[in-house]
Structure formats: structure tokens, C-alpha cells
Symmetry: C2
Subunit: 368 residues, 2 copies
Amino acid sequence: MAADQQTPALDLTMDPADLTAALVDVESVSDHETPLADAVEAALRRLPHLSVHRDGDTVVARTELGRRERVVLAGHLDTVPLPTVDGSLGAVPAVRRREGDRDVIYGRGTTDMKGGVAVQLVLAQQLREPTRDVTYVFYDHEEVASDASGLGRVMRNSPELLEADFAVLLEPTNGTVEGGCNGTMRFRITTHGKASHSGRSWIGDNAIHKQAEVLATLARYEPRTVTVEGLDYREGLNAIRIGGGVAGNVIPDTAWVDVNYRFAPDKSLEQAQQHVRETFPEHAIEWQDLSAAARPGLDRPAAAQFVAAVGQQPMPKYGWTDVARFSQAGVPAVNFGPGDALLAHTDDEHVFDDAVRACHRALSQWLS
Amino acid sequence: MAADQQTPALDLTMDPADLTAALVDVESVSDHETPLADAVEAALRRLPHLSVHRDGDTVVARTELGRRERVVLAGHLDTVPLPTVDGSLGAVPAVRRREGDRDVIYGRGTTDMKGGVAVQLVLAQQLREPTRDVTYVFYDHEEVASDASGLGRVMRNSPELLEADFAVLLEPTNGTVEGGCNGTMRFRITTHGKASHSGRSWIGDNAIHKQAEVLATLARYEPRTVTVEGLDYREGLNAIRIGGGVAGNVIPDTAWVDVNYRFAPDKSLEQAQQHVRETFPEHAIEWQDLSAAARPGLDRPAAAQFVAAVGQQPMPKYGWTDVARFSQAGVPAVNFGPGDALLAHTDDEHVFDDAVRACHRALSQWLS
């Protein structure tokens, strides 16, 4: 599609399922989002009710109606690499089929997340006077390292562009509202001893044996389920790697265990760290990575009306997603999008036409 | 020395310290023992009171006097590789110096164990009518893999050559009798669980956490000290390596710990294995290597008179040595030799002349 270096034209008046297929046809693997970002920017600039901003390959378009509330609809433009399996349906261009009594679109990005992006684009075209001001965000580099994210970059460069009362990320949730997300952190606990020949072990001090206490703490730890704004977040505290020892006849002088703590959005990063310190009061904690949790924000008026428009019981999100970026910026956020997240990144990636249309209908109703 | 491919001549009437230096001059790193084995064989064949046997680079010489008791004096001909440090004293040929009021010989093999081999050779020449029949064993490949050992090979090929009531290995013990040795075995305990994403850890079952119980057993294990024939053997049960885990966001489905058990010679290999099974009744034991312990044999008449001749309190041997090979063949064995075992394999390897002579004197007195 991008072979002729021209910007593909996108028709935002299309049916959202048709637009999904058109977006899949524009290859946009991470680092190659420019043609799609150009097309999105060009299409949005044709709409006079939006002010359009560009930062790298991220496009932000805003209504400026002076409404009492502003909401964000956000989605990423990039996909993971194209499938390499010969004969796979998950290729560019999209393949449209009928399965039973449903129409379906196969191809890289159908689930994650060009269905959601298509819904954003159609809403941007249709909602000339939404009941809330809307900020549409189309960002790059979501599928690679966290610090490459275009969303994070715009938050640093132009935070005012993203100020809002509530945000919806149109990641695939099968049409359910998934609120907030657990935080996650990894840390290492190293135990120390004294090396010696294992034939004279009384001269040494076995560092592996000292992990007994650490592992016993983990084994008897009872992870909590924390209800936040009506959603039940299940936590977890788990060893993910352990190591120690140098040779078959040496008492080891160090051993380590790496632990992953997944914690509910009732706790700040600092509170979660404090909980870890209190759980292992005898040990030094070596932090490896820290990602804050995100509250679902379902207590905000915009959110309550959104949930009512969707008409389904919201669910908690366990994995860490970009809603946490919004949450850290003070904007409660949820995931809500068409497609099954379990198909994301697979060669079998696909989305049903009616799922894309249902998502569009719910958001349209909420904002009209 | 071996450069001209000729067999170096050894004069067994020399002072044992002088002969030690002469032996050091014949390089005999493992796999290169042939010139030294040839020299030893040639020198022994000149002694009509000995019957001499050759197996590879192992030489066995025996008195055949029909005595009521037979003892073995054994030592290995090979050394670890020569020091590579420039200017080191631990080189071929030997360097003889005076330190304070003592004469000392530096060079590879001085401690481990050409001092002991020199004592064997001088005794072989001097003891024409020993009070016990004597079997002198000079063997190859002690410093490499256990199954390459010339001693083990002769035990398999010609066990009758090594039949005896008692054996002395002239490994360096600083002139003390070190009796028997602890056995050693290694085994693995693997714990099993169920993998899952660490964000949904309740779906999985953490195999690392299950090591808590194994490590707690090790941590609270109180190793025994077992007195065997008057010698105190300290045991040990120690984790030597631990591992598990695949990625930062995966609940691991397996984890393992490798354990080394050092056990006193009151137990057979089978009894030691049974003790391990009873210590970890809930876990499958995967045996990795098994080496039996050796009793000191100090209850034998030959041994008692040997200890009296040495005139020092015997000590237990903790590390596994070739005495265990003799013990397994039904021959109680001890270590007794000149030099400090802590200098073995170092660039500073050396032995004092008077230590070699004292060892010779004690053995000569015992066998005369």
C-alpha cells in the first residue's frame, strides 16, 4: 500500500467494519506507522469541527465546544509484525469472509486494534456536536518498548492536549468494559552466605538455604482480592525466577529470587513497595521494574453514563495496559473495544463485523 | 628430561628428599606419565626381591615372602599441569632452597605427590625382608576423571595384585594419619506446578514456591558427627545449585535444587540413599553421582601398629580420596604422606626435605 510513497486516502463515512478492513490494508507494523498516520491526519484535517495536532506518528484531534466534560478515545496505529506462516489468513490485505451467519475480517491488526481505530475515525467524522468534548488520539509504537510509546511521548511533550475527565482505550475487550488495571513490579531478594568446599560445609554458610524463608513467605502469602469502584482486582505475589550455586562441591555464598507483585489499583506504587518491604522485613529489596496500577474511574459521571450506554457489567483488567498511563496523568481510563484479546498477535487474528459496529453504536449513543 | 625419549635412570639408594627432586625433574602431567612410569619400572625390575607388573602406566611391585599380613603403599605418578605463571618457582626442574633452618624443594608435584612416591621407591629398595608383605603401587591418571584412574583400572584388570589387609596412600597429610573418608552423593529434587501468566497467577501453580519446603528441610537439617573407629566424621547436607523460571511474567511450572550429601563411613551407599529418602519423604530423588565412604580400618592389627609407628593421633579425612577405592575393594586404607595438602595444585607447591624423611622413617619403622 505504501509502496508508491503516497498517502492512502481514507473515507471516514464508511461503515466501521468496512473501514477496519481498509485500515488493515495499510501495513503499519511498529516503526512503519507513517503512511497510516499520514492518512489519518489527512482525513481528520478535512473535518472542520476538529483541531488536529501531530507529534511524530501520533495524531490528536479535538472538538473544542467548551463542554463541561472532556473524554478521550484512544487507540494505537501500529501492529506487531505480519504473520510469516505461508497461507495464513492473517496477512495484508485483509480477507473478508462469511462464517455461519456472521461476516468476519481476517488480517494483522483486525483485533489489535484497527477495529477500534476504525470506530474512533467514524465517530470523529459523525459527532459534529457531541455531548462531551472528545479528544481522539491515534498513537504510534504501542507494541514495542514502553518508553517508545507515542502516547507517552505526547503526554511528555503536550500534556494539555490529553487533559480529560475520562478516557476509553479501544483495545479489544470483546465489547465489555474492562476498568483500570493492576500494577506490576519486579524485585530481587538476594541472600548471602559464605563459600566453602562442600566437604567442609561447616566452614561455610549456605546462601541457598537462606532462600527457604523467602520462599516460605511467598508460599504462605495469601493474595488479596480488592474491590475498587465495584470491580474485583485479584492480586498475586510470585517468584518468577530463582538461581544460585557455582559448582558441585561448593557451598554457595549468594542465591537470589526474582518476584513479581501484581497489585490492585487501591495502592500507589509507593504503597505497593511499602507492602513488599513489610512482607520481607528481613531482606533488602532490589527493585527491577515498577508500573503503577490504574483506577477504573467508574465513579466519574462520564464513566457512569458510559457504562450505562454499553449496558454490560464492567470487568476488572488484570494485565497492565496504557490505561495506566492515563491514570498516572490523572485521567481515569477503561478498555472497551471490539474483538477477542486472546486473538491478538496470533496468525488467526480476526474481528467480526457486527462487533465493530456494536462498539461504534455504544460509543455513539454515549456521546450523542 | 623426556626430550631425548630415553628412560631417565632413577637411583633408589638416594636420600628420599633428593629422590623427590629427581622425580620432579621428570615431567609427568596426566597423560604424560610414560617416561616416569618407565623409569620407575626399570628401577624396580633391578630389585630381585620384588615381582614387578605393568598395566598401562601403572607399575605394581610386590614382595612375595608369604607373610601373614600384606599392606599396600600407593601413590600416583601424575601431576596437574605445570604452572604457567612466569618466574614461578613451581616449575620443572625442581628448585631446592634453604628457608630458615630447613631445606625445601619447590616444583610441580613436590607436595602432590612425588615426595610420597620417593618414599615408596626408597622403601621398595631398602626393605628386602619387611615384617609384612608389601605391594607398591605407582599409578597414572589420578588427577583427571575418576574413571581414567590407573588404580581403578588395575582393580578391574588384576584385582588379585592389590589384595591386602591394609593400604596407605602417600597423599600429602603433613605427616598425620588421615583415616578413611566421607562418602559423597549428589541428587536433584524437582518441584512441579502449572505455568500461567503471572498477571493471572491463580490459574497457575508456582513450582518455585514448592521449593520452600525442600529448602526449609535443608536449613533445619542438623548434620551429624559420627565416630567411626575413634575418628570423628562430620557430615553435611547442602544445596549446591538451584534454578527455575522462564520469563518475567510467567508462573514457573518447574524448579529444581541440587543437593550434596557428605556422609560418614558408618553408612553404605545404600544406607546413605535411604537416609536421603527419609529426609525428603514427599519428593522424588534423582541421583546424580554416588561415591561410597571408606572406613579408616584402624581396628586392623596392621593399622594399629602403623598408627603406633607414626606416633600421632589419627584424623578423619573429609574429602573423597582413592582410599575409598581400596575400601570398596575390601581393603581399609588411610592417607599418610609428606607435604601440606593445601599447597597441592598451587604455583607455590613445595615440600620440606625433613617432612619427606620423617615419612620414610615412620613407614620404615612400621615395616621393619
